[in-house]
Point group: C2
């Protein structure tokens, strides 16, 4: 038996990303959920929210002072009999006797018959009386109902990114929960017999699994709810089981590893039997890529080298996930290269770079397994497919990491 | 009995903020805590972290292909006997017989005696043999131990803000937990007989409590761990109890309400007996302010009007809390006013404003109870103490909300 390894024609980065975006964009129509107010900051309202009541709810005092009728203090000083004290939170029905004053606290209901409040600083209290030292116009320091918000008024529109100032207003009208668009749910499956979880001892030939936690971190940062992080060995039955669990729980599944040219490519082998498309994409790092749909759930398969996994996520998945989360696109800027660069023909290379005051330098250590080197990078430098060489000073496009 | 309400001389906004910053800055020396890797994104490392091992851990293959000695394929095509298959995760001791090839997967340990890997694309498999079509130099596609990181090498310095790319590297060396500076812990106590929790019916004279949730939201957004949100009526015994619980649990306590000139100022009344300082600050909104230290814990007392509470937080507490959390200062920019403004003499006024393409407009509805109007604002417009009038077009400083 003799076999030749045929290499499928590589597709472009843009075509691959476009297919992923087309596959995920229907998730924009996902349902909404009610979340308690305290967890709503940073989420997007899924419906217009109207006020159930007037704010202020009732006519109340804007100052600590005395509630009077303005015409009782037309000439000052005026000494008026004190007819009582109204505290904030007083829930009784109150009426001001004609020609009298009632002591009143900020936020307390203004008694019927009173039309203004004189701040306590402009008064002297006596024995059963108060002397008012300044005149006031009707309406002074009285907060009328509905002057902030009317019942039925729109408080915040569908799509609003909820910030603390929105929460303050929505809480003030007594709402306890808010309708928000639920997050996209993702499941992560890492694969490979060689992977060991953090905290366990390593046998020779084993390495620590960093892709699970790294994918979960970038997903979370981009507004996705990571519902599970699982690992499968290279055993197809185990991978099928992890896949079934993932597609049952998530809107989209991310796998790492098992997509290349080896003998034990569990992800490719299993998913191809389910109709998945696997093949090279003109990207470096991260050439072997897969896209499948299993039980209606998109499954994106990235290669297992840690740097390839993260670069694949950044280039292919992050833009659409941010769009689905309602997060702003991350800026792509053009900067001068500080180092000369060579790039293989026919590959859109994404070099790890670091931005300085004068441009972008290329991180030393660009191998797709050099994960510690990648920790130094704050951008990806986009070297287009048809470019094989750039001199220092050339202008390049960089993607913020 | 006759009493005149003496007004204490008001202190400046800067003096008040300075006192709060001096009181809170010692929290910079708070202890560190270990958090699981998955919760470490966005936290600050409290210690330098060194790698416990080399990366790569062992000599491994960079490709799916065949491990050979370069001098066995000095002339090609070369057909070599196949001496086995090395999968990733193979933990046995492996030696390549002289003149032979071993099939090898990406990440699998390179057998002793092999010095390069030929990618599978450049081979043809036979019956118990493999034919190699290209020559290779010793070292090709072999990843040597320690070429990414050496055991003992600094991976990330104390103070690093942990991003997904750091997590990926720190997970790759097998770390399960990371030492981070613990967050500042805050407790919130709202006060006032008139306040009702969200979801309950309102009696006449009652309003919904929005300050608790609003303070919690702005604290959380500024890197603080909100350990409790409590409410007290205007009963001093209840407030003392809430205060004791708060100071036992938190590094700093925030109160709202009960600091003004009324008859039932529970916060001021209780805290003054414990040495607290209460008095007017030259700010609008938010004049009445208090600073206390109870059982060694700073207690910051803001007025209860919802807008005053939030403006107090923004002006007096946010800068030092962001500094303590290691978060960048929020930008303060200068913009042209789009509306004319009047401001009371002797008050540093913070108007709620909205930034547009041409400048900053003043939100309609500046009363300190107008919380729904505040939801429209994205900045505070800083009108200095000595300014009473500004024409449209004047340049003002704005603080991002």
């Amino acid at each position: 038996m003799s076999s030749r390894h045929a290499v499928a024609p590589a597709r472009s980065v843009d075509d691959h990303r476009q297919q992923i975006e087309d596959l995920l964009r229907p998730l924009a129509a996902r349902e909404s959920e009610a979340v308690p107010m305290a967890q709503a900051v940073g989420r997007r309202l899924s419906e217009d929210v109207y006020s159930p009541l007037d704010l202020p709810v009732f006519r109340n005092s804007g100052m600590d002072g005395y509630a009077v009728r303005a015409d009782s203090i037309a000439t000052v000083p005026a000494t008026l009999p004190l007819a009582g004290v109204v505290a904030a939170g007083n829930t009784g029905e109150l009426t001001l006797p004609e020609g009298a004053a009632m002591k009143i606290m900020t936020g307390a209901p203004v008694p019927a018959g009173a039309d203004c409040v004189v701040p306590v600083e402009h008064t002297q209290s006596g024995d059963g009386t108060v002397t008012i030292e300044t005149t006031r116009a009707a309406g002074d320091f009285v907060r009328e109902p509905g002057t902030d918000v009317r019942a039925g008024q729109l408080l915040a529109s569908a799509g609003t990114l909820l910030l603390p100032r929105h929460i303050a207003a929505l809480a003030a009208v007594g709402l306890a929960d808010l309708p928000v668009t639920r997050k996209v749910r993702a499941a992560v499956i890492t694969t490979g017999d060689e992977l060991v979880p953090a905290g366990s001892p390593l046998l020779p030939g084993q390495i620590y699994n960093s892709n699970g936690i790294a994918l979960a971190a970038v997903l979370t940062e981009n507004g996705v709810d990571v519902v599970s992080i699982a690992h499968s060995t290279d055993d197809p039955a185990e991978f099928r089981q992890r896949l079934a669990e993932a597609t049952a729980a998530a809107d989209v599944v991310f796998t790492s590893g098992g997509v290349s040219m080896g003998d034990f490519e569990v992800v490719k082998d299993v998913l191809k039997t389910l109709g998945g498309q696997f093949g090279p994409v003109k990207i470096q790092p991260g050439g072997p890529q897969g896209i499948s749909v299993v039980d209606g759930i998109p499954v994106l398969s990235f290669p297992g080298n840690p740097v390839s996994t993260i670069v694949s996520f950044e280039v292919f998945a992050r833009p659409i996930l941010r769009e689905l989360a309602g997060l702003p696109e991350l800026p792509r800027v053009e900067l001068p290269l500080l180092d000369p660069v060579r790039s293989p023909a026919g590959r859109n290379q994404f070099l790890r770079g670091k931005v300085t005051d004068t441009g972008v330098s290329v991180i030393h250590g660009q191998g797709s397994h050099l994960i510690a080197a990648m920790a130094q990078a704050d951008v990806l430098i986009d070297i287009p497919t048809d470019v094989t060489e750039l001199a220092a000073g050339a202008i390049v496009r960089v993607h913020q990491l």
